[in-house]
């Protein structure tokens, strides 16, 4: 009973906050609704017994990705009137996209009802073994090469992003800590004894 209650609670909040994400007038509110949706999706994973994925969802999406979203959206200068004026122009294209997505969902549900490609559905977890371990054994055993390849793709994407956005600025003088620490009074201070009326020559 309690599982059913929790499921409907989380599912209802996920859907409602998903609707609010696209419906909210303020983009910052949209991101916050999105975060609520992520959070409740993590709750759904918990009910499924996938506590590791639930925690990862919170750490990666809520803790890192959504913070950066919020960071960017808060600093955007958005003209709402201009955004809304585009609706008339784009709605035919948008409705075609929506129809395609709807058709795909219907198709997927039909295919799923007809039976999956894999002969038997795998049981979620052996009793008593944490699913982090099961996931680890699968990822680093059977799917090791695919997993490493995925890591490599991410590495390339990261390096690419840095290379594309990094620009060298010649007008900056960054702090060099070791240079500052190495500096001694002898390097900085010179005792002079200038004659009267002559001044100092450096």
């Amino acid at each position: 009973m309690i599982q059913a209650f929790a499921f409907y609670l989380f599912a209802a909040i996920v859907i409602a906050s998903g609707v609010m994400t696209i419906g909210a007038r303020n983009p910052v509110h949209s991101v916050l609704w999105l975060i609520l949706a992520f959070f409740n999706a993590a709750g759904l994973f918990l009910i499924l017994g996938a506590e590791f994925i639930a925690m990862l969802l919170v750490i990666v999406y809520v803790g890192a990705v959504a913070v950066l979203f919020l960071f960017v959206v808060m600093m955007l200068d958005i003209d709402f009137a201009e955004l809304r004026s585009g609706i008339a122009r784009y709605w035919p294209f948008a409705s075609i996209l929506a129809l395609i997505l709807l058709a795909e969902i219907v198709f997927a549900v039909m295919a799923w009802n007809a039976g999956t490609v894999v002969a038997a559905k795998a049981s979620p977890a052996a009793q008593g073994v944490p699913n982090i371990e099961l996931l680890g054994r699968a990822l680093y055993g059977r799917y090791l090469y695919i997993f490493e390849a995925a890591g490599l793709v991410l590495l390339v994407a990261m390096i690419g992003a840095i290379v594309l956005t990094h620009r060298r600025r010649s007008d900056l003088r960054p702090q060099n800590v070791s240079h500052q620490v190495r500096r001694r009074p002898e390097d900085a201070v010179v005792n002079m004894n200038p004659g009267v009326g002559q001044g100092v020559e450096l």
Binding site: H29, E51, G63, A64, V67
Partner: protein, 387 residues
């Protein structure tokens, strides 16, 4: 206790009542602890500045925090007319809630834990990453320049330091073989000869230092308190807040600091275990050792706050990304390399692991193999200490 309630009130409702009571048993003393730790912070800070600190309200000024609490409670809640009303009110509540929920998985003693979940460490990481939202939302909803600057700083600062904290946690997990906090504490029993704690391990000690400094940055304590640097940003994200909403930020901040001190104790200094694995020391209840360790690290936090000047923002970013990140990444390589060289892999498909009975035999294998040893009777020396 849960069983007793379930027996008298029925299974579901009994569980509910028992859990509610346990939550209150953690949350209410925590509130008291936060009030006293604010007092302790002010006293320590004052002593280092050769001042007397709070000394008027109650004996030795012990009731100062309660007087302050009463004062802010009686003040008027002011919501700026330009603020985003709903979010402005939610932000301090969020900060305070997040500071409380982290304690759900912290083991206070042997078996004294509200939720003994096997992703405990990830849960704590998730909760600590949620802490930034209170600050960002407060800064944005205030609709004011200084709080907004503060929110942007907080977002960048907390995300940066979480990365190196993650690597520190990975090296701890590698050595303990579990994400469960009670399991991590058990793994530290006589970790180095007779010393309890990963920090006594020369390979993990640098990580404990990185963790402590990152914890200061995560909780935006001095010297990393750039989010509320009064010389630049008035009071940062708290500028527009007053009355109880201000107090909630204050309480949440100290609650987070205590949680970080507790995490340092649990991850590196043996949690509720005494520092030395010697039977008479186990006569002192584990919860006292744990609180003593929390207070010790809180003293370090106060000490640093009183003595170290505030970092500049670019120095903070440099420390996080150019020093802590490479060093902690290198240390993950060192720790995993050491374990690979010295420990055996878990044998697959044999009954070798099932025959392991004592700790010394279990130490031959990788730490993560322990969950596949059904006949391991727990830490044998622990059993001796409890008898």
């Amino acid at each position: 206790m849960t069983e007793w309630f379930q027996g008298t009130l029925g299974y579901g409702f009994g569980w509910f009542v028992a859990t509610l009571i346990l939550i209150l048993m953690i949350a209410l003393p925590l509130m008291l602890a936060v009030a006293m730790i604010i007092y302790a912070d002010r006293k320590i800070w004052a002593a280092m500045a050769l001042r007397r600190g709070p000394n008027v309200v109650g004996p030795f000024g012990l009731l100062q925090s309660f007087a302050d609490g009463l004062k802010v409670f009686l003040k008027e809640t002011i919501i700026p007319s330009g603020a985003n009303r709903g979010l402005f009110i939610i932000a301090p509540i969020l900060t305070f809630t997040v500071a409380l929920i982290g304690w759900a998985v912290v083991p206070f003693g042997d078996g004294m834990v509200l939720a003994d979940i096997n992703v405990g460490l990830l849960y704590l990481l998730a909760v600590s990453s949620l802490g930034v939202y209170g600050v960002i939302i407060a800064g944005w909803a205030s609709n004011s320049k200084y709080p907004f600057y503060s929110a942007l700083r907080a977002a960048a600062q907390m995300v940066s330091y979480e990365v190196s904290v993650g690597f520190v946690l990975i090296s701890v997990i590698l050595w303990s073989g579990t994400f469960n906090l009670s399991g991590i504490i058990e793994a530290q029993r006589s970790h180095v000869f007779f010393l309890n704690g990963f920090a006594f391990n020369p390979l993990l000690f640098p990580m404990s230092i990185i963790f402590l400094i990152s914890a200061m940055a995560e909780t935006a304590r001095a010297p990393f308190d750039l989010t509320e640097a009064e010389s630049e940003l008035v009071a940062g994200y708290q500028t527009e807040y007053s009355s109880m909403s201000f107090a909630l930020f204050w309480l949440g901040e100290y609650g987070n600091v205590l949680l970080m001190c507790g995490m340092t104790a649990v991850l590196f200094w043996g949690g509720w275990l005494p520092p030395i694995d010697w039977a008479p020391l186990y006569l002192v209840p584990g919860i006292i050792w744990f609180f003593a360790k929390i207070f010790l690290f809180f003293f370090v936090f106060s000490w640093v706050k009183a003595t170290v000047p505030r970092f500049r923002y670019d120095q903070l970013m440099r420390l996080g990304w150019k020093i802590f990140l490479p060093v902690s990444l290198l240390w993950v390589f060192l720790v995993s390399g050491y374990l690979l060289v010295t420990k055996e892999q878990c044998p697959v498909g044999t009954t070798e692991l099932a025959s392991v009975r004592t700790d010394d035999e279990a130490d031959r294998f990788m730490p993560s193999c322990r969950s596949q040893m059904p006949n391991l009777t727990g830490r044998d020396r622990a059993a001796g200490a409890h008898q």
